[in-house]
Structure formats: C-alpha cells, structure tokens
C-alpha cells in the first residue's frame, strides 16, 4: 500500500494530466498559483504546454485558442481572476469551446484575503457572465474529489463542448492530504466527438442531438469559430428564429442531461429528521458533525454532500429532503446556495448556517445549530 501526500491543487493537476489535458495557461494568484507550478512541472515533460499569461484575460484566451485547435485545456484562478474571465467564459458558452476552469475560492469581496478560504463565488460562477446560459460547476470536498471531479470536468467539457468550472477553495487547494491512487475513483476518459463524414458546418448538430461534432482549427477541413451570434455555419445571423433555436439548444444540451452528472454523496440515517446539506470544504465538518450527533448523541442526522452545484439537481434535492422536518444548509458564505434549495424545497423548513470570516465552519458549530432545533 502507498499513499500520495499532495494538496488539492496538485490533485487537480494530476486529474488533468490523467484526462489528457495538454494545454494549461494561468496567471499566478494565491491560492491557485501552486496549481500553475504543478502544471509547469508536469505538462512540458508530458508533451504538453503550460504557460503563464500576461494576465487572466490572456490566460483564458490562450486556452480558448488551443482548445479550438484541438487540445484539452485548463486554466486556474481565484475570485479576482474569475471576474476577469467573465467575458471569455460567455464566449466559451457561445462558441461551444471545451475548457476546464479551476476557481480556488478565497475570501472576498474584491481583493479580500489571498490566503483565507471562502465559498463566496457560488452564485457568481453561475450568473457571472452575459447571456445567463447554464454552466456546469463541480465542487470537490477533498483531495480525492479534486482528482475525480477534474476528470469528470474534462469529460463534461469535451462531451458537451462547454466551460466546466471546478469550485475549489483555498482550504482544499492548499491543504495537503493523503490519497490512495489505487482506491481513488478514476472515471473513463471521454474525448470530444469529431465530425466524421459529409459536409461540415461548425455548429451543425445531428438530428436528435444537441452538441455539434468538432473539428480542430488547423486540420484539412476549414473551421470557423465566432463569439458573435451565429447560425450552424458559424456566420453571424440576425434571424430571430435561428437565434432563439441556438440559445435554446445551448441551454438544453446542459439542462436536459444534467441528472447524468449530478454528483453527490448521501448519508441517509434511519430516524433522521434533519438533513444537513453542504458542499466543498464544509462537507468535511458536516460529515464529522452528522457522525457525532448520530453515533454519540442519539440524534440521527442525514447528510447530503453536493458535488455538482450547477445545474441544480431538483431530483437529488427533493429525494434527499423527502420526509425531513428540517433542512439545514451550511456554507462558507452569507447564504448563497441555500437560495436554490429554498427554491426547490418550498414546502419544508430550510435553515441556513454560514460564515465568511476566513475560518472553517467547525463540526461543533454545526452540532450546536442542529441541536438548537
């Protein structure tokens, strides 16, 4: 038996290499800069390219170019950099450019605290770019998730030709932990579907499908990419029905398949009247709290750890909440994801506990919150 001793950011880097990522560009920002180092250390020798951009906008721009030229790409940043990514994220949505974006969240607002964790970007990741179309956001809870969800993130980006954001946190990214590579879940790697035969239009989908087959810029068949509103041929369109069909497809390709990538852990306990809901770094404290309450204090509590934050899985939430008297959502912010849970679970009591002080929420605080009733 052997164990790796790595932090969450290194695990993301390994997940990326495992997934076939061969292009990475980022601008150094705490707490994501050691992910840049990890990629610089490993990608060139794996035959890939790792770059340090002149700023965040350039970094994601390099990735979008390389992705359209056929490579699997990733970038990494934190809240301040994610803000600068916004316009290019909506480009990746509109242009259906596969990219994995790692957001190692830190205390905001604004510059905030570079070395303090928080989960304050949870709604921002969903709604932070123009147009309001869906994005996929996966939230690892520990080092092992950092590996596995990165592989899922690449698979989803490639499969649905879209940006996928990994919502990590300084407390996961820069905290080292042990990882048994033999036991960690390694999803099968999926590559983007290539156009096979017949005339090629860059945004033409096959009948009954919602994702256009891909060809790289630079191959023998000409490819067009554009950030402007376009039809299947990749040229600007002003035809309202074509525009409407285009945006509806962009929404549908993510939303109609979402249950297949709604990742979560559910610890169901007999007799539980309270359901704890947590994600990210807070999931660990919630796990410890639920175990302590159930095993030592005779207060059985169920726990739902969400790993896919966006799109919101109504099925997962409703099934976990069924029969519960109280749902307690714990987050390292002032109450963001709880709004989604209140939207979905409207006939049950949904409470919130959270803080954004740079300190982790402890199991003790959660236990107090549960027992307060």
């Amino acid at each position: 038996m052997s164990l790796l001793f790595i932090d969450g950011n290194q695990a993301v880097a390994m997940g990326a290499i495992h997934s076939g990522c061969r292009f990475f560009a980022a601008y150094p920002i705490t707490p994501a800069s050691n992910l840049l180092s990890a990629m610089l250390d490993t990608l060139p020798s794996a035959g890939g390219i790792a770059l340090q951009g002149e700023d965040e906008i350039a970094s994601i721009g390099y990735c979008l170019g390389a992705s359209m030229a056929g490579m699997k790409v990733m970038t990494a940043t934190s809240g301040p950099g994610l803000s600068l990514y916004s316009e290019n994220i909506s480009f990746a949505i509109a242009g259906e450019i596969p990219i994995v974006i790692v957001n190692i969240m830190r205390q905001g607002p604004s510059t905030g605290s570079a070395t303090r964790g928080a989960d304050g970007d949870v709604q921002f990741m969903r709604w932070g770019c123009s147009g309001g179309l869906p994005v996929i956001v996966l939230a690892p809870a520990d080092v092992s998730d950092c590996f596995t969800l990165t592989v899922h993130a690449f698979n989803l980006a490639e499969q649905y030709r879209c940006p996928v954001i990994i919502a990590s946190n300084k407390e996961i990214g820069m905290t080292s932990g042990t990882l048994d590579m033999e036991r960690v879940e390694k999803p099968a790697v999926i590559d983007r579907t290539l156009h096979e035969a017949g005339p090629f239009l860059p945004f033409q989908v096959k009948i009954g499908e919602d994702v256009p087959p891909f060809l790289p810029i630079g191959g023998p068949i000409l490819v067009r990419q554009t950030s402007s509103t376009h039809g299947p041929d990749g040229y600007i369109t002003t035809n309202p029905s074509e525009i409407q069909a285009g945006v509806e497809r962009l929404q549908r390709k993510i939303d109609s398949n979402m249950e297949s990538f709604s990742y979560f852990d559910l610890e169901k306990r007999e007799g539980a009247r309270t359901l704890l809901v947590a994600y990210g770094i807070t999931a660990g404290a919630a796990r410890a709290a639920a175990a302590e309450l159930s095993e030592n204090q005779n207060i059985p509590v169920s726990l739902l750890v969400l790993k896919t934050l966006w799109p919101v899985s109504e099925q997962v939430l409703q099934a976990a909440a069924m029969g519960m008297e109280r749902i307690l959502v714990v987050e390292m912010n002032l109450g963001q994801y709880v709004q989604e849970i209140r939207r979905v679970i409207c006939n049950q009591r949904v409470d919130f506990y959270g803080k954004m002080s740079g300190q982790l929420i402890s199991p003790k605080e959660i236990i107090e919150e549960v027992t307060r009733g």
Binding site: L4, A46, I57, N88, M181, I217, L222, T226, Y235, Q359
Partner: protein, 433 residues
Amino acid sequence: MDSLLNPDRPPVFCPGCSHDRSVHTLDRALKEMGLKGSDVVIVSDIGCSGLFDTFFKTHAFHGLHGRALTYAAGIKLAQPHLKVIVTMGDGGLGIGGAHFLAACRRNLDISLLVLNNFNFGMTGGQFSCTTPEHASVASSFLNLLEKPFDVCNVAACAGAPFVARSSVYRKNLPELLAEAISFKGFAVVDLWGGCPARYMKKNPLSPKEIESAIEKLQPYQGVISTNIRREYSSHYREEAAKDTAGVDWQGIEKTFEPTVKERREVVFLGSAGQRVITGGGLLGRAAILAGMNVTQKNDYNITVMRGPSVTEVIVSPQAITYTEVGKPDVIVALSEEGVRKCWGLFQKMEKEGRVILAAGVEIPTTDAEVLEVNFKAGGIKKKERALAALSLLAQTGDPVTLEMLREAISQSFHGKRLEEARLVLEKAATIPV
C-alpha cells in the same frame, strides 16, 4: 494558386473604406505565397476589422475585442504548422495593449495586421489610441489631451523582430505582407488607411496625405535586427523536451505499522526561516510511512521571509473529515510571533497534551505538559529548530517514531541536505531539556 476570398461573402465595407483594399491586398499576398485555405487561420476581434475572417476561405477565429492575439497564441502553440494572421483595428490594439506587448516579447510566429484608421469606426467614430491630437472625432475634446501611440515604436521597443509601417495604398504592399507572413516570428504591420464613414468626415485624409504623414515618422520596413531571436513555439518544445520531471502517481509506501489508534493534532508555531512547514511535511511523511492519513495546513505571511509561520498537521489511522485543528495534542512553540498568532490554542489543550517549548518563548498557561528545550545551548541553528523539535517528539513514539522520521528524511532529502538533517537528529538527541 487561387484566391482565398470567399465567393459567397464579398466584402461589405462602406464605399471608399480602406479595409476593402486591405482585404484584397491580403488575398494577393496569400495567393503569391501559394497558401491553401487550410494552411491559414485568420484571427480577428471586434469592429469593422473584425469582419475580415468572414471574407476568406481559411480557418477563422473571431473573438473578443482586443484579445485576438491571445487566441492566436493558443492556436499557434497547438497547431505550429498554421500561418496565423491576426487582424485588429487601432481600437482592439488599445484594449489589448498588454497582449500586444506580451506578443512582441514572446515572439511566436504570428503576423499582426493593425488596420489603423485612427478611430473606432463601428461605434461612431470615437477616439482610439492612435487618433491624432488635432483630429476632430466623436469623443468631444478628449483626444486633444492625449498623445497618440506609435504602434511601430512600441512594437520595436517591446521586442518585435519584424515591424513595418505602410499605407494601404502602397503599390508593393502584397510583397510586404507576404514577407511579414513568411517571417518566422512575431511580425507587426501597421497599416494606415481611412474610414470615410466616420473619421474622414471631419478629417479629410487622402492616400497622398497618408503617405506624407508616414514619411515624417521613423521608417519601419520589416526586420529589426536587434530583436532577432528564436521563435517561441519551437524554442518551447526544445526546452520541454529536456524536461524529464514526471508525475509521481505512486507516493509513499507503507513500511511501518501505525503508531497511534486515534487522531492526533500537531501544531508548529514558529517564524519564517525556522523551516516549520518543512518540519510539518516530514512529520506527515513519517506518519504516511505507517499508512496513516495525514493533512497539513500552513499559514504564513505573504512576505515569506518575515513573520510568523504556522503549520497544522493532523495524523489519523481513520479518514480525516475536518481539516482544522480543534484541540491540539502537541504544540511545538518555536517563536514568540508564532505563539501570539495562535494564543488561544494552548487553553484548549488537555493534560495529556505536550508542548515542546523553545527556551525563552513566552506561552499562556496550559494544562498540557511543557518540555522546555534550550536549542541554542544544544547548538541547533534557527533553520534546524523545527526538525530538532520533531525529533524530540519522535523520541516519545507518538505520533511517529524516530525510525519513521529517519526514513522520511532519507526519502525527502538528498546529498548535503540529507547529511545536515541527519546531523540535526544527532544533535537533538543530546540537547539538555
């Protein structure tokens, strides 16, 4: 070779727009070079110059305003055989100034055509970074107050190895463009032309006037010999090929039996320079040698060579769900500023807890057993303190033993550093406590 113009999409610029001429000139250059459409990608951004990619039967990438050079760089690195041609207006150049400087410095084999018409045409003729001070444009008097930017001077200063300035009306322009596109490196062509719909309404600009304005400036005709150097993409691949560092997928093999049955929390409170984080890492590695789970969380100043340095290590035979220290089993207190940062932790300790305290460091009262150590008297230097303290901890066998620590050290260090670390362990064994 045939024209690469797209027969289905003829240029649609305003009558008399110099962009129309640029499109045809670029096509002539590509034709003369004998390039196929699939050999070329045109990367454009926003504005009238952003229509360029639609007029050609080549690969095309039309992206955000001012960012074309960034996409072009990604494409070139991924598909090195492509001729990557970027068209940008003076508007996009101003927006993407940092990318322009970076591209000049980097020297990827990309050709940038700046379609310079001294204003933002599409949005109504506002001033750009190249609008002359005396021009009358749609941004009120603002351009009066700013100095226009000389694209070529900036490019040459920033390191571009090929820089040329030309009127779009110049006779041998196709040859110049072909030279720029063939050049193995970053080539900038500052192409001056007119926007009759906006800029030229109030600022008449004949081809002759353009020529004479260019003649008054420092001439740029192509290769800047002092900036000649290796092309980035091929150089990158060459350097990368020397890089042999791989990923360690294996990790640390279990060679010892676990020493503790339950979670242990160990905190090192020190200062920059005491190698506190390295010490925490060695403790972690030693515990992993016994197959135990470990987390390590560090806290240090952004000015890494000054200020407190704290590391929290949790060791457990069970899974570690919560990664913050609640009730430390061991505190290694090496410096005043480290202790002050976590003053409250001492009160949380129980009487089974242990504090390894550097002599002279003040700590709050605690129920834990305190072992005061005179590192100085033991000849332990500042940078050796964390490791020395760790070896004192290992002497108790909880949560790691000295054998485990020795093994962790020999797996982590090599050469001189390894010898030094072993010496610290020897010295620590004789410290008066």
